[in-house]
């Protein structure tokens, strides 16, 4: 026993400094670690050049008056002060992005879950329906927007025509300041409810053990009771996953609005991502655009953090206590 222990200590002492550096305990592990690092090189470079480096550069630019060319001058917090107090479009665009997300995320999640429940049954040809629901999510966003501009056409579009059949005078949709935001919401819901979110729910539903359902049935649970007290708790981790991705996706809304309405009419669909684009790449106010980007990321991180904190109250992880 003691001999073995001293042996180990002796061996540890013999380990070279680089073995300790890479966390290896034998020459074989050193070799392994070196190969591990070598295979990691593309991503390490990618992380530094295209992600971490730019994020830090973005932070630096946000304290300058950088305009894309020339030398950036340090301006302290001026860009942030301007965003919060001197930019007429800052708060409205942020508010509009929230307004959009507050509708798109819950409606999208519930609709995806309902679709998944509908699809989670044994009928021949069920995968054909799954295909129909999935295809909109594959549509390139620019084509998606162009296609829906045509569907929402105030006079010859099929949507207003259908409304006319049931006696409703349809609005001008994307051309109306009042209806453009709802129209963008409809477009993005259509494109996303049958996509990845639904497939993930479907996989989650099929991971619910059949025995639990049978046990609930024996206890006399009806359909709704089974869904509410067995299915929902069992898929709550899946729900959290979809919720977090859904919020991130919703806050980033850009292409649909940019192509369909250019942010109009009267800034009705001027989302935060459009505002950043406009400032940085149309006006080349890169310093200010960088400050806006940082504010955006902080908002996203805060949202994600709170979702994770609150999730402890409603997410059930099987087998981990509770």
């Amino acid at each position: 026993m003691t001999i073995a222990a001293t042996d180990l200590v002796g061996r540890r002492k013999q380990l070279s400094w680089y073995a300790r550096l890479v966390g290896a305990e034998s020459p074989l592990e050193v070799r392994q670690a070196i190969y591990g690092y070598v295979f990691l090189i593309p991503w390490i470079l990618g992380l530094i050049i295209f992600i971490v480096g730019p994020i830090l550069a973005c932070l630096y630019f946000s304290f300058t008056d950088f305009e894309g060319v020339g030398v950036p001058h340090y301006v302290g917090l001026a860009n942030y002060v301007k965003a919060f107090t001197g930019d007429d479009l800052f708060w409205p665009s942020l508010g509009r992005t929230f307004e959009y997300s507050v509708i798109v995320v819950p409606v999208g999640l519930v609709a995806s879950l309902l679709l998944a429940v509908l699809l989670n049954r044994a009928i021949k040809g069920i995968s054909v329906f799954r295909t129909f629901f999935f295809i909109p999510s594959l549509t390139p966003p620019v084509a998606l927007a162009i296609l829906w501009v045509w569907l929402f056409h105030p006079s010859v579009g099929p949507i207003n025509l259908a409304l006319k059949w049931v006696g409703i005078q349809g609005p001008a949709w994307l051309e109306s300041a009042q209806w453009a935001l709802p129209a963008i919401i409809i477009i993005n819901l259509w494109a996303s409810v049958g996509g990845n979110t639904m497939i993930i729910f479907l996989a989650g539903l099929q991971g619910v053990p059949q025995e639990f359902m049978e046990a609930a049935e024996i206890d006399g649970a009806g359909r709704w009771a089974k869904f509410r007290h067995v299915t929902l708790p069992m898929i709550s981790p899946t729900f959290l996953f979809n919720l977090i991705l859904g919020v991130i996706g919703a806050l980033k809304v850009f292409t649909t609005a940019f192509v369909a309405t250019k942010g109009g009419p009267q800034y009705a669909t001027w989302f935060f991502a459009l505002h950043i684009y406009q400032q940085a790449f149309a006006y080349f106010r890169m310093g200010y655009g960088s400050a806006l980007s940082w504010i955006f990321v902080v908002v996203l991180v805060v949202f994600t953090y709170f979702q994770l904190v609150f999730s402890k109250r409603w997410v059930y992880y099987g087998g981990e206590g509770d």
């Binding site: 966390g23 591990g36 295809i135 390139p140 620019v142």
Partner: protein
């Protein structure tokens, strides 16, 4: 948890266990009816786009609109190629998609191999950091990347669209492939190691061939992403001859030179041609698609 392959099989047998119990009840009839109605909602916009693309310039604005064109105008599709450099845009997109996807497949798989099979200091921290990058909005890196590429003289070239994909491809692909590699038995590697194979050879001749389903998933998702990407072309490309198809379609929608006659029918034809490759790809490789989403979702 099951591997992606098994999860997919589960999806396809949707609830076979309870098949015996399923009767045509009122409930399931309502369910089937809703599925059919919803399918119409999801498919109709495509149907409307296709019929619009086959109408004559003035027919398309008839009121009330007709469902089918009086005489299908197949030549609308040819006209798109005549009045806009549409063939050029397709070629540009094909180039970006092919070269970019190759980069994603090669580099994300080797990085995933490193995360899945090797032990070294810092691995788990870097992996967590990698997962964290999935939550970042593109905006935060956009401005400095633009500055970087403009310093390199790459503005108005296709490089910014595919070169970054050769550096690990992106966190999502690395994560997906790592999960897949972890589901392959380690004994395979060890046997090969004993037989004297090097680490790269193990990766290339053992893991890669076994990972074809996961690699196909990565390829497809990367294809759809590059084909539809709009933000990067919008920022980096300014002359029409270098546009990708998504950017070209946007240009086509906004070009005043094409506005002499109502061009809505041509815009619809161009949209149809932009969407079709994605749909064809989906039908050809449906199972890999679903599997990838399931693999990333379940284990996430």
């Amino acid at each position: 948890m099951a591997t992606g392959e098994a999860a997919l099989a589960d999806l396809d047998r949707s609830g076979t266990q309870s098949r015996a119990l399923t009767r045509l009840t009122v409930g399931s009839a309502i369910g089937l009816f809703s599925l059919i109605v919803l399918s119409v909602v999801f498919i109709f916009p495509f149907f409307w786009t296709v019929t619009s693309s086959l109408k004559q310039p003035y027919e398309i604005f008839n009121f009330p609109p007709t469902v089918f064109p009086s005489v299908p105008q197949w030549k609308n599709y040819a006209t798109v190629f005549e009045i806009a450099p549409f063939a050029r845009w397709i070629l540009n997109s094909v180039f970006v998609v092919v070269v970019g996807t190759l980069g994603v497949v090669f580099t994300s798989s080797i990085v995933a191999y490193s995360f899945a099979r090797f032990k070294y200091r810092g691995r788990d921290v870097i992996f967590l950091l990698t997962l964290g990058t999935m939550m970042l909005p593109a905006q935060i890196t956009l401005i400095p990347q633009y500055v970087l590429f403009s310093k390199m003289g790459w503005i108005n070239t296709l490089y910014p669209l595919w070169v970054p994909l050769w550096f690990g491809g992106g966190a999502f692909y690395i994560f997906l492939l790592r999960q897949f590699f972890l589901s392959l038995p380690r004994e395979l590697d060890e046997a090969a190691l004993i037989d004297g194979a090097g680490y790269f050879r193990i990766f290339w001749t053992i893991l890669m061939p076994l990972s074809v389903p996961a690699l196909a998933t990565v390829m497809i998702i990367s294809f759809i992403g590059s084909w539809g990407d709009f933000l990067s072309p919008l920022i980096y490309l300014n002359s029409p001859d270098i546009f990708t198809i998504a950017m070209g379609l946007f240009f086509f929608q906004n070009d005043p030179d094409l506005g002499g006659i109502p061009t809505q029918h041509l815009l619809m034809a161009a949209s149809v041609m932009t969407v079709i490759p994605c749909v064809v790809l989906f039908f050809a490789m449906q199972r890999y698609f679903i599997q990838g989403v399931v693999l990333a979702g379940i284990k996430g």
